[in-house]
Symmetry: C3
Subunit: 343 residues, 3 copies
């Protein structure tokens, strides 16, 4: 987390749905406000949009971005089609990337490429982005969804490729991934597989190569109990907390409620910030007295510990710079002032 580029939330919105207003969800995402506004909005031309609506979905993105993007506070990253095992799908992906860059390249930050395979396939996707950049003259980055066994197998080399290419972010795709590996929910409290090794590797390789790392969607949006169906807020929060714990920069959202929760959870808690500020202050004082390591509230603190507390403060500052109302709501004025002062 040397990365203070905000991506607490990666919200996909189908760019075309079979309704009178086929752009209904796309507009909702672009017009969201407050905690429900994602840091990254991902207009979805891939699995969220039915085959018959792909063209209309692309048209929706082209029509609406010029109107909404200028007032959208976050970044915009359409998801295009791709597939390591299907050239026809890749060809559609190349067309979508070229069309988006040419038509609304000024309103995009990048494109999200799903279902990539081994390193060679990621390079092919990046070449399509590079070609679109050359053609359109607009700077566009690339995020990939890690959701195949091949991409997981080559993750280290793929991430290193990201050091000097348009690849800027790794996103996890657990649903396709579970299908490839044959993961199952065999019942019981544990539920399905949750791939802790993949999470650790994604966080590590992103950090080793200055990429962003973003978690996977949580699709059990609602729960039913005793006849009543309700938003599954506890399980989603636990999912996002788990992603934050291992150092992912953000989480995937499928719903405005999820966006609100993930935006909040990827902000340090009041307790985290309070501890960070207090210990930075105390350690700074101890250093002035010539100490290298000192016990503060029972914790042995040294330069390494300090970096963790500084991360906390830097995240708060980054959010404060971009969405001041959010930090003002979360922390009392005195704590926030001390946090901004120690940075």
């Amino acid at each position: 987390m040397t990365n203070t580029r905000l991506c607490r939330t990666f919200q996909t919105a189908p760019a075309g749905v079979p309704r009178d207003d086929s752009a209904k969800y796309l507009v909702s995402g672009l017009a969201a406000e407050g905690w429900q506004a994602p840091d990254w909005l991902v207009p979805d031309l891939e699995d969220g949009t039915a085959p018959d609506l792909k063209d209309e979905a692309l048209a929706n993105v082209r029509d609406l971005l010029p109107e909404y993007a200028p007032d959208f506070a976050g970044e915009i990253w359409p998801r295009v089609e791709w597939g390591y095992d299907d050239e026809a799908t890749r060809e559609r992906g190349r067309d979508q990337i070229a069309t988006l860059a040419a038509s609304v390249g000024d309103h995009l930050d990048g494109v999200v490429v799903p279902k990539v395979g081994r390193l060679d396939d990621v390079k092919a996707a990046e070449a399509a982005v590079e070609a679109a950049v050359q053609e359109s003259g607009r700077e566009i980055e690339m995020a990939i969804i890690v959701e195949t066994a091949r991409a997981r197998s080559d993750l280290r080399e793929i991430a290193q490729f990201g050091r000097d290419s348009r690849l800027s972010a790794l996103v996890f795709g657990p649903v396709d991934y579970a299908a490839e590996l044959g993961g199952r929910d065999v019942g019981g409290p544990e539920g399905g597989p949750n791939w802790p090794g993949l999470y650790e590797a994604m966080s590590n390789e992103a950090s080793a190569n200055d990429l962003l790392a973003i978690g996977g969607p949580f699709d059990k949006l609602f729960r039913e109990r005793a006849g009543v169906t309700f938003y599954n807020g506890d399980e989603y929060a636990a999912h996002v907390e788990r992603e934050a714990r291992v150092g992912l920069d953000g989480s995937w959202s499928l719903h405005p409620n999820q966006t609100e929760q993930a935006n909040r959870i990827h902000l340090p808690t009041d307790a985290e910030l309070r501890e960070a500020v207090r210990k930075i202050e105390a350690f700074t004082e101890a250093k002035d007295e010539g100490t290298g390591a000192v016990s503060i509230d029972g914790q042995m603190v040294d330069e390494a510990t300090l970096k963790n507390f500084e991360n906390t403060v830097e995240t708060v500052r980054a959010v404060h710079d971009a969405r001041e109302s959010q930090t003002r709501e979360c922390y009392d004025a005195d704590l926030l002032e001390r946090a901004l002062a120690v940075g």
Copy 2:
């Protein structure tokens, strides 16, 4: 789990034991019926058979396979001797492989090679299989047991080698593995190490290269409590469920009870199949109306989710084709019919 080749159970049986009938366990395995019949039977010439009995064990396999194999519904994979750190053991392994191929090659599906080291050692084992195939004219595959630090270190390259070689399956060997790494059961409810990272990697690399992945033996067959010793069925079931959760194709069995439990657990539960069929039906209907993603029973379902449900149905169909009595016992007739219809 694109793999519908059945290997829910990998049951080892010592091919020679110090009894009047030294083939007692081998015959039991070959003659097992119903849920106690393993998908793969592994006559063991390695650790399960004492040094003095190796020759008799090999003779048992040669004598009994022509009689029993034709009626055995599953596959037969003898485990031979091997050792990355001992040439004499490898030489015995080569002889065993050659002898098995020449004498009962028509009744075998492959050989299981234990204690392989780095990629080069796996290639040496595969060369022995290839030589035996050339010599005997019988097609035989190879499974390896991943149970050394070296094999784990090279797992990715070893699995890739499996793409275009006789290597078809990766099996985990936790007992040797724990000894190599120095893992300990320090007491408490967690017990010994359980290597989640290795499990994830094995499932991933097998899937990336179209290999089968099979779990490790659970050796605490019986438990004692308050003076009474009984079959440790709860712990074994939890062990198999954990392997199924991360997408392994099958589990190792040391006992007919374990075979029965693993055969059942590697079949989708009634609840899994019911959910899969219902959601495939509902999603198909939604697609017909032009929807790409739709919320069904609170879950956001799209093409990726669909693949998971299709996996469930495909596994049921594969078992149905091979062991119809098992699927008929597990699912009611209506559900099974719907499952076979949506496939």
Copy 3:
């Protein structure tokens, strides 16, 4: 754990602190007795010592080792400065390594190099050690602290480099590591990230290349509850048990209490040793009767299981050879005698 070189405890002691006696903690470490004496003492010239005191800290090590090292039963491994991302720090590290080797090389076993990056950086550190060895004529080994995303990414290649170089041990540095990845303690019982994948990989790669593997520091030395602050002995014990479970050879200590606990936990428990001895005896008897695998107390035991029990006995013997009072205290005389007899 083919490794019986003792390193149950890796205790860092700041080599210079802002007190009248700036060597206070260094002397405490060197003079510690009984269970509080670490197997490895690590005089810290890096984060534990403030910038202004680095020179005095180095002088303390040079002054005190000739006096204390001859009577210190364990090994002595100063931690020098290093940083993959800062040449000036590396230059200080090279000077410290050269100075230590030239002045007190006879009293050192090796140096600990922190914050290494990718393989090339580890090679650069090793070259500094090699140069100091050539210059001074004293044999010195190297341990590295794995605490950057880059080192984790290259861990396999780094460990392989250790096969034929002065690199002898891998140590985990979770505080810097969490800062690099952006790991967080988001509250709740789970606390911060605990990197099970890294632990598994470190244990595996160390075993594959005959290196030692040592866990990371636990910095929450004390806990407060209802106004009273006390030593956090339960959490540290759980931390060390977790490291022992996956096969690490030792644990990091920041305090004499931690050293005592880790020295004890990295000895087999009485129950472990008792089981190991009983089953070795029973299996040996069964082998004499021609059995390859036999069920003992409900567990299926074969040659692979035996290796685990032999590991237990070998660890006890190694500690017995070095610190006989510790094994005599932990096990009754009869059990210890049987253990030494079966080895």
